[in-house]
Structure formats: structure tokens, C-alpha cells
């Protein structure tokens, strides 16, 4: 039983780490601001879920579990709002999104 829990927890942790790295790569490699925000949101959601679930399995069911669940809840609550605020601010500043090939020149201008 302990072995299964341990294996599951490690699987979750590794999945979380992979997702986190994916998000980081996306944030660097994607072409413009909006797509980058999109990439980074992976780390806030599924990556956070996997890592915290993995940690819960590691810690066993104690007070720490409750705290971890709270962390997850607040993370899920706040990061979409923060992303929303970020994108909204960028939109209001007049940053054009990267659309199709003929619009891309404008996007490049807006970014620089």
C-alpha cells in the first residue's frame, strides 16, 4: 500500500515538474505577450494541482494536508484573476495580439 501511494505521489510530482517546465519553455518561446500569458497559466493550474496532490500523498493525512488544500484553492482563485488583470491592462495599453501573417508586423512593433 505504502509503495503504491509513494509511486503515485512521485508520478504526480514528476508530472507537475514536466508541466512546470513546459510552461516555462512556452513563456520564453511563444511569439507575443498574450500567447506567453497563456503558456504560463499552465504552471498555475494543472502543474500546481499535480505537485500539491503529490505532496499531500507524501505528507499523509494531517493538518498539513488541510493547509496544502487551502494553498491550492487560493492559487486557483487568484492566478486566473491575476492573469485576467494582466491581459486586460495590456489590452488597454493598446498592445495588439499576434494574429495572422499580415498582422504580425504590427504586433512586432507593439512589442518592441
Amino acid at each position: 500500500m505504502a509503495l503504491i501511494v509513494d509511486a503515485l505521489s512521485w508520478a504526480l510530482l514528476i508530472a507537475g515538474v514536466v508541466l512546470g517546465i513546459t510552461g516555462a519553455i512556452g513563456t520564453i518561446r511563444f511569439p507575443d505577450f498574450y500567447t506567453r500569458v497563456h503558456a504560463s497559466s499552465v504552471t498555475d493550474t494543472l502543474c500546481a494541482l499535480c505537485i500539491i496532490a503529490g505532496l499531500i500523498l507524501q505528507a499523509g493525512f494531517t493538518l498539513v494536508t488541510v493547509k496544502l488544500v487551502f494553498i491550492l484553492l487560493f492559487l486557483w482563485y487568484t492566478s486566473p484573476v491575476a492573469t485576467h488583470a494582466l491581459v486586460r491592462a495590456a489590452h488597454h495599453m493598446g498592445l495588439p495580439p499576434y494574429l495572422s501573417n499580415n498582422a504580425s508586423a504590427d504586433a512586432q512593433k507593439g512589442k518592441s
Binding site: 487560493f74 482563485y77 488583470a85
Partner: protein
Amino acid sequence: MIESLINIILFTMLAATSLAVVRLHNLFAITMLFGVYSLLSAVIFVELDAVDVAFTEAAVGAGISTMLILSTLVITGHHEKNPKHGPWLPLVVVILTGAVLAWGTLDMPLFGSLDNPIHQHVAPRYIQDSPEEIGIPNMVTSVLASYRGYDTMGEVVVVFAALIGVLALIGINEKKCAKRQYSSDERPPRPVLQVMSKLLIPYIMLFALYVQFHGDFGPGGGFQAGVIFAAAIILYTLTFSLDDAFDLISPRVLRPLAAIGVLIYGGTGIVTMLLGGTFLNYSVLAGDPKSGQHYGILAIEFGVGLTVATVMMLIFYAFVSRGEKGKVE
């Protein structure tokens, strides 16, 4: 082994981040990277067992400092001119100094060894006796509030002095804006943000109270609690408007509270003096020295929390009102 590896990796990341901060020219980007740098420092502090410090660094370095730099950039603009003179002279000075220093470290006591003199002389007393003498498990709080309580009072006065400086320099413009909050085009309503932060703010305040009163048992204390409480009001100001925040907590209320916080701390010391102890000797506050210590720490932590929270809010108000409403008349 794995601990040393984590340690080395984290420190290397910190060094890399600092280089990135220096090499960038957009001040907004520098500020955000500086926030990252602070968070990374906080992680290192956790890894080195300094949880209270990590908490403070995260709240102050990544939170308040970044916030203040951003609100300054709103006023000053965020493009750095290219420096006209070459970087060589400062670079040579810096590399030489660094080399001399690195040479000087070679016979430093090694990292992590229990035999180091730093762990031998004064520290064991705090570790072994403070749970008995003070009666609270968090040794950092014991040392902070009791053994070296006078330093902490100085720290509160430093915060107060910063407030005095900011008020002297930029002041808080309390004049109301002529109703532009929700109607004008440049500042449309923000339903998502406003609803969500309304839901969040009570929890932030609750957490601040928890940190304030749980500081004896876990990481936290007056300083961290004060910053978190101020963060709730800052969030409110950002999602609503400065005028709404002034209606909620007016600077006129906050100003005296900042002074009162310092006076609560000092007053505790005066009371202990009158009761026959030396300044800040809480043991005389009650018949039993241990409960005396408890009352004393409770009182001074409250003073710290009050001053820090009010000063942080006031400084934030000062910066934002300068940006939005211009000079104080």
C-alpha cells in the same frame, strides 16, 4: 549531499537573476525581475531554515518594495537612457574589490558546521533556555521580542522614520478626484477584479490576524502581519480607486495610529521601568515571569503590527496619490 546541491543550484540561480537585473534597460522589466530575485531569496531563506526571514523577504522585497518601485515608475517613466561613459572603470574597481574579498573568505568558518564559533557562544542559550525562560516555542520570536527587544524597537522607529521622510517629501494628497471613477472611458469598470478582490480581502485580513497572533508558535509576528494587512488595503486600492480607499480607511485615521504603535512598544518599556525592572523587562509585568514575558510580547507585537500596517498603507497612499493627483497643495 542533496541539500548542498539544492543550495548551490539556488545560489547560482540568484546570481544569474542579479546579472539579468543589471543588464536590462527597461525599468519595468528590471522591477519585475527584482521581485523574482526577492522571491528566490525567500526560497533560499526557507532552505536555510530561516522561515521568519523568508516570510518577511517575500512580503517586503517581492511585495512592498516592488509595489513602491512600480508606483514610482508611473511618475518617472520607465526608460533608462544609455550610459554615456564606458563601464570599464567601475568594472575594474568592482572586480578588484571582489577578488580581495574572495581571498579574505578562504579561512572563514565553513558553511553548516556545528563547530563554528557562531553556534557556540550565545546561540545555545537561546536554543536551550528560551522555551523555558520565555515560554514560547518560536525562538526567533523570543530573541526578537525579548532578548533583543530593544533592537526591535529601533526597527519600529526606523519604519516610523521612513514614514516621516515620505510625508516630508511627497505627502498625501487627500483631495477628491472629481467623480471620474466609473464613468470615464480611460477607466472602465472592472467587474471581475472587483468582485474577486472583495471576496479575497476578508481572508487576507484574517490571515494577517493569524500571522500576528500565531507568531509565538510558528513563523510570523507583528511585522509580517502588518505587511499582509496593508496588502489587503493595497489590493482594494488597486481594484477600486484611491478615493474609495480613503473612504474606507482615511489617512487622517492612519497617521495617529502609526505613532500610537511606536508608543505602545515604548510604553510597554516604560511600564516595566515603573514596575521596577529595566526597560523592556517583561518579567515584572505579572507575578510569574513567564506569563509576564507573554503579556509583554503580546503587547509589543501588537505595537509592531499596528505601526507597520499603518506606515505601509500611508507610504503606499503617498506614492499613489502623488501619481494620480499630483502635488499636495
